[in-house]
Symmetry: C2
Subunit: 274 residues, 2 copies
């Protein structure tokens, strides 16, 4: 049985992705931080891990890119999950009785507008979404609510006070599947890649690389410059591309390899976009 | 006297930037979140605000880009501050006696390696760095330490237990000066601009824009694609450029205006890099 590390506990969005991504039964390793998640891979306790990497509202979770890069992990797949935030608490309480809401900072950020209309509620940042639901249930905390997926309410016997409290209703998060070894994806399954490269600070050097990609029929789905740790204000570029044929991608790859410094393939996988 | 909003309280890094950026005396408006900071500008309580926008380790503070964009604020200047994190507490305590460290999530992230060697300390996320220093001082809390700039220790009479605990010693943060009105920077003072545009998902469209920039002798110092709020998985591009002459920049600007959708100048200002 495959051992899969997730950030958070059962009932979290990472857990939902685990259920949707894997056909078969898996063993879940719950990790309370992304660092612990990566350690679980590095120490061989997990075969693969699921990691949130970007969301509709806040953009990339940049420290996670650094974790993948620094630890030479490989992206072997991706999954896009629509995010639904629900406010949940012990049964028979209404919103006026709730004085505290604990959740992950990202969930709080995504529900900001809702809480503007409920100023009596104190917002408290915590490490996970589902973990608070579990705590409320175990300690029978009244007056405290969690923001978590519906599955967390079911698992921990909480009632949903308000559903869909996220500001942007079409909110989605992109998750990547990561592992320590190079994935054995067949070239016919692959139509997306995550690349990293560094460039000299010569004018136009990025444009030149993008021209190569365009000539080789690669579609850029994402680009960002990121500071190079240890050498402040030097930038590396993280780029996601999709393509029709592996041959086109291979051609671009071999040209960029020559043109850019420190060219690295973070992953080649199947596009998870519906 | 100019009224300047800062994120955090006196003794914070934002306060240090305020002292360094402005020659003259200013009135400080302390704001406990970036939302409150922006509100302070929008309601006319502050003339300008100082906002952290990117740092060496974690990259861009993406929600702050969204705040500037959404509220049509203008960037009128920037400042690069080297960041020094110090661990501070009430006098006469050593590190073994400290059981809790509270600070801003970014500060905790930047000192992660230090705390790996002090596993007995519980890390607690809070809204500000200096604010914890103030609280320790006011409530005379023992066993609790703050991560904050040296100035906070001086203002709140705390002792520094360990200095320079940030993992990356050359850590720096870029701050922007923002305001509601278009700044009156003279064209001779301007050699940097922050731009935003949207592009059709046509292959090579970004490369084409970057070619224009390169042809007009603009240097790209930063690029990132950001999800368009309300239309998930459509991206806008945020780009910073520097240039030798305003004329070159103006030429690029007028071409990009025609080629890109929703072209917006977030700010034209003097490069703050030393």
């Amino acid at each position: 049985m495959k051992r899969i590390a997730i950030q958070g506990i059962e009932g979290s969005n990472h857990h939902i992705v685990a259920k949707k991504f894997y056909d078969k039964d898996i063993t879940l390793n719950e990790c309370l931080s992304f660092d612990i998640l990566v350690d679980s891979l590095l120490t061989g306790h997990s075969d693969q891990a699921i990691m949130a990497i970007e969301n509709t509202i806040a953009g990339s979770i940049i420290p996670n890119y650094a974790l993948i890069d620094k630890n030479n992990l490989h992206i072997s797949g991706e999954y896009y999950l629509p995010i639904h935030h629900h406010l949940m608490a012990l049964p028979n309480q209404n919103i006026e009785e709730i004085t505290e809401v604990c959740s992950h900072p990202m969930a709080l950020l995504q529900c900001k507008e809702f809480f503007k209309n409920h100023q009596h509620i104190k917002l408290i940042e915590d490490v996970d979404t589902a973990e608070i639901a579990k705590r409320i249930s175990e300690k029978q905390l009244t007056g405290v609510a969690a923001i978590a997926p519906k599955m967390a309410a079911e698992i921990f016997n909480l009632s949903i006070i308000e559903d869909e409290i996220q500001t942007i209703k079409q909110n989605a998060t992109r998750f990547v599947i990561i592992q320590t070894t190079k994935p054995e994806n067949g070239i016919h399954e692959i139509n997306k890649a995550s690349l990293k490269f560094e460039l000299d600070h010569k004018r136009g050097s990025l444009a030149t690389i993008l021209n190569v990609m365009s000539d080789c029929k690669l579609n850029l789905t994402k680009i960002q410059s990121l500071p190079k740790i240890e050498t402040p204000w030097k930038y590396a570029f993280f780029v996601d591309v999709t393509f029709e044929t592996y041959k086109d991608y291979q051609k671009a790859k071999s040209i960029i390899e020559i043109m850019a410094n420190d060219f690295k393939i973070l992953g080649e996988y199947k596009n998870g976009r519906l």
